[in-house]
């Protein structure tokens, strides 16, 4: 936590020409995404899991997001940074259509996961959310047992045919979330009785249990102490081999530590995005620079 984000091990002297950057402007043309040279972020077109184009979000009359276009690579961690109220959480919630639950929210533009528009009429948000898991700012386990917390998703989606299979899923999910050793002997105790960090890992296990492809994390560590935060970050790093992870964070240091790609939002606009290393060493936009060096936000 105390680490200076700028002290991140940097590949020196890799300042990219702006026109090659995967930023708002460049991303308008899908072909430009491939313009990012291989060997820098290891991102190619086929590896993009989520592709957002001209996303506008309105809450009633108020516009919260302006023409956001962004590609999120598969099997890696993408961090959204920006000052409070900049729209990064709003954008995150568009990806699994959690904004549907807000009556006044209106989403325009397209967000595709594996080429399929999530806002299409044929897409059932219930199915979408089983593919796109979500972890919230405050740990929010159900007021049920640890087992029931993890088993709930598989149960409602019919992923397990028997008790044994369900137990196997729960165990595997808790193991993946690095929580198994701590809770194996008290699976049938209250999930809310765990510590904050454990609860957040339980919530991650709950999200993993339905085998999603994408996991969205909305400031998952903002309510946790540094040790619990470190554990979650470690977990995120392990999980990126299997999932496409998008994380919203207020901590530049965290973004620098866990993500491979970073997107900076400001006042509802995507200011710039690119490989994390670059964003932190050589931000193109002065606003980005000011923000990551702590001059505002």
């Amino acid at each position: 936590m105390t680490r200076n984000p700028l002290a991140f091990p940097l590949s020196k002297g890799h300042a990219m020409p702006t026109e090659n950057r995967d930023d708002t402007i460049a991303a308008h043309a899908p072909t430009l995404a491939s313009a990012i040279p291989a060997g820098h972020g290891h991102v190619t077109t086929s590896e993009f899991k989520i592709r957002a184009r001209d996303v506008n979000v309105f809450y009633g009359e108020k516009q919260a997001l302006f023409d956001v276009s962004l590609d999120v690579p598969a099997k890696s961690v993408t961090a959204f940074i920006g000052p409070s109220g900049c729209g990064k959480s709003t954008f995150l919630r568009c990806i699994n259509r959690m904004n549907d639950t807000i009556p006044s929210a209106r989403v325009q533009g397209s967000i595709e996961i594996d080429g399929a528009d999530v806002n299409a009429k044929s897409v059932d948000p219930v199915v979408l959310r089983s593919r796109v898991g979500m972890v919230f700012q405050k740990p929010n386990p159900f007021p049920k047992t640890i087992f029931e917390n993890v088993a709930y998703g598989p149960k409602i989606h019919g992923l397990a045919t028997g008790k044994a299979e369900l137990e196997a899923i729960v165990e595997a999910s808790l193991k993946k979330a690095g929580l198994w050793n701590e809770v194996a002997d008290r699976l049938h105790q209250a999930g809310t009785g765990l510590s904050g960090g454990q609860q957040q890992r339980l919530v991650i296990a709950r999200a993993i249990a339905v085998s999603p492809e994408v996991i969205l994390m909305d400031e998952p560590c903002s309510a946790l102490d540094p040790i619990a935060t470190a554990k979650i970050e470690e977990l995120i790093d392990e999980l990126r081999n299997q999932f496409c992870i998008v994380i919203v964070t207020h901590s530049m240091a965290q973004a620098a530590r866990v993500s491979q790609k970073t997107a900076f939002f400001h006042l509802g606009k995507l200011v710039e995005s690119g490989p994390t290393e670059e964003m932190f060493t050589n931000p193109r936009d002065t606003r980005t620079q000011d923000y990551i060096t702590g001059r505002f936000g």
Partner: protein, 434 residues
Amino acid sequence: MTDAVLNPGAPAPKAAPLSAREALLKKRHRSEMWFRVQGIAAIVIAMIFLVVLVGRIVVQGYSTFETHTLTVPVYINPERVDVTALEGVNYDYIVAEALMKKLGVQDDDLGTTSAKIMDLTSRDFGFQLLNKLKADKSLIGKTVDVTGSVKADADLYYKGEIKRSTAEVDRKLDNQQLDWLDKLRTDGTVKAGFNTKFFSNSDSTEPEQAGVWGAVVGSAMMLVITALIAIPVGVLAAVYLEEFAPKNRWTDIIEVNINNLAAVPSIVYGLLGLALFINWLHVPRGSPLVGGLVLALMALPTVIIATRSSLKAVPPSIREAALGVGASKAQTVFHHVLPLAMPGVMTGAILSLAHALGETAPLLMIGMVAFVPGAPESFTSSATVLPVQVFIWENASERAFHERTAAAIIVLLVFMIVMNAAAVILRRRFERRW
């Protein structure tokens, strides 16, 4: 201070002199003290009212729970009993004869003495004799022990409610009758005991025979109807309005109207029930069914409001958590939100039922005010309920009914305390302290 920091150009406010600040501090403490005193005074006043209310009812009503019974050996004189017409026999006179024998007095030709004696014993004695003879005709010519209540006025004399010091013309019993009563008590013919009849009997024209059983059964049956209608309809309406309904002008109008309905005087619901259920749907008047329907209408807004507020109190993070793992809206509500809201829902429902239990005015409108000498046999037969029983007895002219009024209120209060306790227990049970 902060202003000064934020506006460096503005002149720093001058600090008040120390003495002035101390004075201000004292003033603040004083005003806090004054507020506390007012609060305590308010509580004391409320407690006094409560104690006076409950105290008066208990003082007036507790004597009902004691009663005086009389046991007398009755010789069933074959001359007075016509075996072929058992119903037509004057059993009261046979009992009076037995008592006259016991007291050593003779009846005159006009029957003055026997009439006075009959004023002391309940009509119940006669009915008991009739039933005994119906069961076993061989009793004719034998002596049987009969136990029954003394008449309400005699009971009041024993309890000290009718005093000998009152002028003879002003009381219902004359000096001779009081002498007899004294004698009967001293020789052990009359005994004091717990008044079980008050709980096992229903309403009666004779106060000593009147009880609350019919009213208790009527109240319970009516509440069953009310609960079966008001709770499911109210909870589902609230869940739909709170969780599913779009927030637009129509739902706003519905919400305002529900809140208004909760404030509609209960007698209006009685009129509605009269017009809707009795005149239009022809539900039998004065039955637990129609009473329950009317009270369900009345309880519905309260149940909806209580349910909505407890649904609102469920943290949105739980909804997000469920939606986030792909639960549908209905799964989110019924698996997570409603179970968490359940303690509040149950409390609201039981409190609104308790309120309905004490309701009188709408029931008078739907003809529940009749004299019903028995517990209702079905949901459609005539019934009386506790608050209406209180109302009927309070209007009765006989003095003994007034102590029964207070006793019935005690029963009603106990009924309510039990319901409220159930609400608390249910709340504790459902409430998951994680």
